[in-house]
Structures are given as C-alpha cells and as structure tokens.
Amino acid sequence: MVEVVIWGSLRRYTDDQSSVSVTGNTTKAVLDSLAKTYPGLAPIIEQGVSVAIDGEVFKDAWFTPISDNSEVVLMPLMVGG
C-alpha cells in the first residue's frame, strides 16, 4: 500500500483524512485507485494533478514508479509565467 498525502480542501472527499492508503506502483495506478476508493476525487484527478514522489514533483506523468515506502503527495496541476 502507498500512503498518499491529500491537500486540505480535498479532505472532504477522503472522510477528512489527511493521508490515505491505496494500492499501485505507478502514478497512474495510484491515481486510479484513489479515484476508485474516493469517488469524490475522481473529477479532480480527471482535471489533472501533479504528484510529488519523494520530494520531486511530477506533472501528469502516468508511469513514474512508486514504491510502498515512497513519500507521495497529491498536488494541483501547476502553471507558471
């Protein structure tokens, strides 16, 4: 299981948990199980999110490997100038 940290305003879709455990060994797999387990997150994930894995931010990248002891943080899709 991978522990995923959820940002505050999404916690209402995760029964107010700040982090949740889901299965998956890639970002895509983890996001899919997040959306499945917590359907409220599905539209957010569909819109596009970033995932920080062990401190490095990945923007909408499906196949980045994730191991069970990785630090995984869900983040909004970001823009810059």
Partner: protein
Amino acid sequence: MNVKRKFKVLGTRPVRPDGVEKVTGKALFGADTYATGMLHARILRSPHAHARIVSIDTSAAEALAGVKAVITSADFGEVDSEMTRDTMHNCMANGVALYDGHAVAAVAAISKSVAAAALKLIKVEYETLPHVTDVDAAMQPDAPVLHANRQHRSVVAGTPGNVVYYCDFGHGDVDAGFAAADKVIERTFKTAATHQGYIEPHACLANVGSDGKADLWCSTQGHYNVRLICAEIMGMDESQLRVTASEIGGGFGGKTTVFIEPVALALSRKAGKPVKLVMSRDEVFRASGPTMSASMDIKIGMNADGKITAGHAKLRYQGGAFPYQMVMMGAMSAFATYDLEHVRAEGWDVMTNRPKMISYRAPGAPMAVYAVESVIGELAAEFDLDPIDVRILNASREGTKSSYGPTFKAIGLVESLEAAKAHPHYSAPLGANQGRGVSCGFWFNFGGQVSVSMAINADGTVNLIEGNPDIGGSRASISMMAAEELGIPYEKIKTIIGDTASVGFSDVTDGSRVTFAVGIATINAAKAAKAEMCKRAAKTWGIDVDAVEWIDGAVHPTGHNAGEFPPLSLAEIAANSGRTGGPIAGHHEGAPDKAGVSFGVHLVDTEVDPETGFTTVKRYTVFQDVGKAIHPSYVEGQMQGGAVQGIGWALNEEYIYGEDGRLQNAGFLDYRIPVASDLPMIDTVIIEVPNPGHPFGVRGCGETAIVPPLAAVGAAVCAAAGVRLFELPMSPPKIMAAIDAKK
C-alpha cells in the same frame, strides 16, 4: 549524474546566436511581418464594466469602402471544452461585456485608417449591469455574479457565486502552534493588480486559405498552445494550422494564452485574405491579462528566540471576468521558505469585472510571500532579532517537509541567506531616512513536454530545432548545452525555434522550464546523435560498437583497440556520413520532471523623503540558488529583471479603477513601470546548489526573482519612513498618509 564535472562551455558568456539581428533591427517580432494583400484589423471594445449586449449593427461598417470583413461572437462556433470556451469568450464577448475593454466586434480593412473608421460605424446597444472590481466586495453575498454556476467543486456550499475556487494546504495544528507562541501577530494586506508590462503589444498575422489550411504568425510564449486553442475554436485539425512564433518582445506569463489570434483567424477566414492584428498599448492594459490583486490575512506566531511556532494565511485573489484557479500557487508558496510544524494556507479565487488574469512570473506567489515575509519581519523586530538570523533559524532545507506537502531535496535557501548575511551590503552603514529590507522567496519551477531535433551537418556543424520561443536568451543556453554535450565549439551550433509543423509538441514557455526541460531534451538528442556517430566510427574501423567511446567531441577506440586507430572527430564522421549510412541526427521527445525548486533572498536599501513620501532605491542585491548557471549573464539578467519588476509592484504599479468600473490608467504614462533613472545597479550573487534532477544541476531561475522584492522593499520603506504599511503599491500618497497618521 556528475554535477561536479568540469565544464568547457557551461558557465562561459558567449554572444547569443540571435543577437546581431536584435541589435541591428532585423529581428522579426510579432508586428514585423507583412503579407501580400494583407488587411489590417481592429477590435471594438466595451466601454462598460458590465453590460448586456442588446444588439450589434455592423451594416454601416460593412458598407464602408475598403472593409472586407466584420465579425462578432456570432462568427464563432461552439466549442466543447469549458476552458477553451472561456478563452474564446474572453477574445470576443458572448452576449455580455464583462469588463471595460472586452472585445465586442472586429473589422478587417484595406488600411489602418479604414479599419479605424469602420469601428466607429459599428452600433452596439448596451444595457449596463451592476459591476464589481474589488475582491472583498465581489465576495459579498449581494455582489453581482459574473457567471452563474461556475464554482469549482472545491468551493464550500453557500459561498457567494464569484468565488470559483477554494484550496487549503498545510499540516499540523495551527491553533496549538499559536497557543505556544510568545507573540502572535495578525495582519491584513492588500496588493494591487499589476500587468506583465512587456514592451511588445500582442500581434499576429493570420492567413486562412480557401482549402481550410491556415498559417498564423504571432508573438507568443507557446505556439503549440496557440495551435491547440485556435484549432479548437476554429474547428480545424491541428495539422491544418501551422503556427510560427515570432521573436517575442517580452511575455512574463502574459503571452501564455491567446487574446487576438482567434479574432484574426476568423477575420481572415471571412475575408479570404491575410489579416494582421496588433493591439494598441491601451488595449494591452485593458484587455490582456494582468495578474491578480489580493486581500490577505496573515497570522504568525513566534517565540522570543525567533522560532516560528505556526503560520496561517488566508488569501483572497481577484482574477477577473472568468473562472480560474491560481490562488493555489500562492497558498503553496506562502510558507514554502520555512520549516514549520504547524502551517496552513487557504485560498479563494474570485471573479470580478476586470480582464481575466493570466500568469505573471511566479503567478500567485509574490503577493502571498510579501504578506508572510512582512509579518515575519515585524515579529523579528518585535523581539529585536536580526531578520536574517530569524530566517536562517526557520529556513527550509534538505529534508524539510514543505508547507505544501513534499519533502525538499537539496535546496539552497540557507546558503542564500548566509551569503546575504556575509555580504558587505548587509553591514554597510545607512544614512538619514534610509532603511534596509530583506526577504526570502520561492518558486516551484516546472519540467513538462518538450521536443528537440538535432541534425549533424556534413561540415561538422549542428542545427538544432526546439519548440519553445526564446524569451530571454534561451537559444544561447540551449546551444551551450549542445556544445558541451557534443564536445564541439559553441559557434558550431545553430539553434532555431521551429514552427508547429517542423518539430514535435512543446509546452508553453512558462514555469522557468526552458533551460531545464529543453536542456534535458537537447542533452538526450545529443546523446542519440553521439550513439549513431559511435556506430559509424566503429563500422569505419571494423570493430564492435561496444569497443568505442565518445570523448571530447570524438570517437575513440577503447579496450584492446585503444590506440589502434586515431580518434574520429565529429567533423570527420559527419564528413563521411553520406558514405557510412546517410545523414546523422538525434532527437528527443519527453516530459522531464524533477525541475528543482528555487529560493532567493533579496536585500535592499531605500531612502524615503519624509516630506513627500518619495522612495529612492539606493542599493539592491539579489542572492539566488540557480542550481547551475549555464550562461551566467542571462541568469543575472533574470535576477535583475525580476527584482525590478518587483520593485515596480512594490512602489508604483497598479491597476486603478474608477467608481464606473473603468480602468483609469491604461498606458505607460500612468501605469508606472520603473525607468532607468529610478534604479541603482542591481547586484547579483549566484548560488549554485545543483538540482539532483538535472544532468548539469540546472534549476529554473526566471521566476523566483520576482517573489522577494515586494516584502524586501516593503520592509526597507517601513524602516526608512518609520511607519508600517500593509498595502501595495506603497505610492507616495499612501506613505505620506501613514507618516501623517503617526504624527
């Protein structure tokens, strides 16, 4: 990865490849191209902040001799995606004019003067509606709502309709943190909307053929993005629309979307001729994206030793006439510079009757960091602590769990703070009415999609095509990285920006990503070309490819073949490429991540005239971790330019709206960007803590520099004037009002 490696090209300061064209006036920017039979277009804009468009009568304009096309929103079709539909309706109002300057119709005519005359013949009947331009007013339950039912699901039920997005970041228990503090300060701040202020107005030349194919030349930070949006709006296949990015006269985020391109395309399609459309400066201010204005509550607790116990930010951003999501960038940045046990940042994005915001250099971060850093400065002063010491004590470092979630890898904030503290600037004496300010700043930096194609020419030179417009010297840094990787002189590389038909997709030039992402693609393209050249050399020598290696621009035999054959240089292999298997090239398409966050520290001295409130910036030094400076001059240039945009934001730049909801300062006369005589030299100290995510250690550097100046200048002005200010810009009337209030 070998970040300690000795570089031959990186770190030198060669002349940029596009330089001669730019100093001789030959470089072609957005408005510098002309087509045979070209028409000139103009846009009619709403004089009202909010008005229903009852009717538009274009018949008189159409009847004017020389007018070839007139369009309104009726000339645009339906689009599926909500985002693109908003963009289209921002380019041309759909039934309701949502802000002063919103486009309502456009004409194309045989000359500029005919186009201008035609505009006057278009009769628009408006029914004015109540308007709102202030963020706090727009959040009131009785405020006029710009678009019904457009709230993002993040918004808590019952929130007034202009609030379109809500976010909440952080960890720990801020209430417990405040309870444990020796002192808690809570302040409310306001910052004005500012404009990116690029000197080149938006400009394009569109040519839609009768066969449905189209060419578009435009000034943009991302021509693939322009293609994506315009193809959808025009109902075209992407392959049928070729977009070429002109030289770009500044963008700073403001050219990451479209404002006029769909209009020019629609006019060209209707007229059957090429159409040139160039914004006037007045239009740039009224109808292209400024950044957000903000209203913010900041609460921070600190112990007497300077340790921050908790921080809580509430950010309310005003972003104009359409739904958007940008406050999250501010909420994530607000406390990113500090290692906090208890931290929370909430944000609300709010619609108003103003032009739709678009990214401006580290969008969302400068105002949030201004507010947080101002309170930290006030707390440090409260305990009589050195402001840099307090920041070092609390600074984020490798292993810090950031305020937005992830744990930082190697970062250079402490190094930047220590460099600032040790710098002679920090200990230099101050004169009468002078004050010193310091602030940290942070930006994420991105990677993203990128394509690079590299051809090794038979004469040993290299052509490189990439897909990101060169906004500040990136052709130079890309050429340098190619030269470094290939082991050939910089002068042998020619880098060009390809159009959308000549190289693969590339994301917009934003997020300080180009040197990082295009750099990685360039290195990988070079590696592919080198691998091919190794094969050719091995074949030439009749040995196995595993028995050769690439060293310093040449293939060498290795192992038991070492010394058996004289090495073959890139030029020698290239010269025979026609005989050894054909042209040699390398390419790379990818989406590199791990861009590496960047931190900076700014130090500034100001002098405030106690009788007029006039502020002079006396001395300014920028310290920034850039990972690895590829071309140090252009890195310094980013640091200097960002600092000066921040100075403008802090002191004089602002969108000023009247009671009527109309913009009162749509020109460089009264939208006051810094001029040469306002400034001292901007000193720079480059800190290099390599980004572990890049082969050369590169971090993005373009955006971070605009984040610290607001609070640094704010602290310096407050110290010089002996007052506290909580609002930007700190224009002279505001400074004098504070000084008078203190008396």
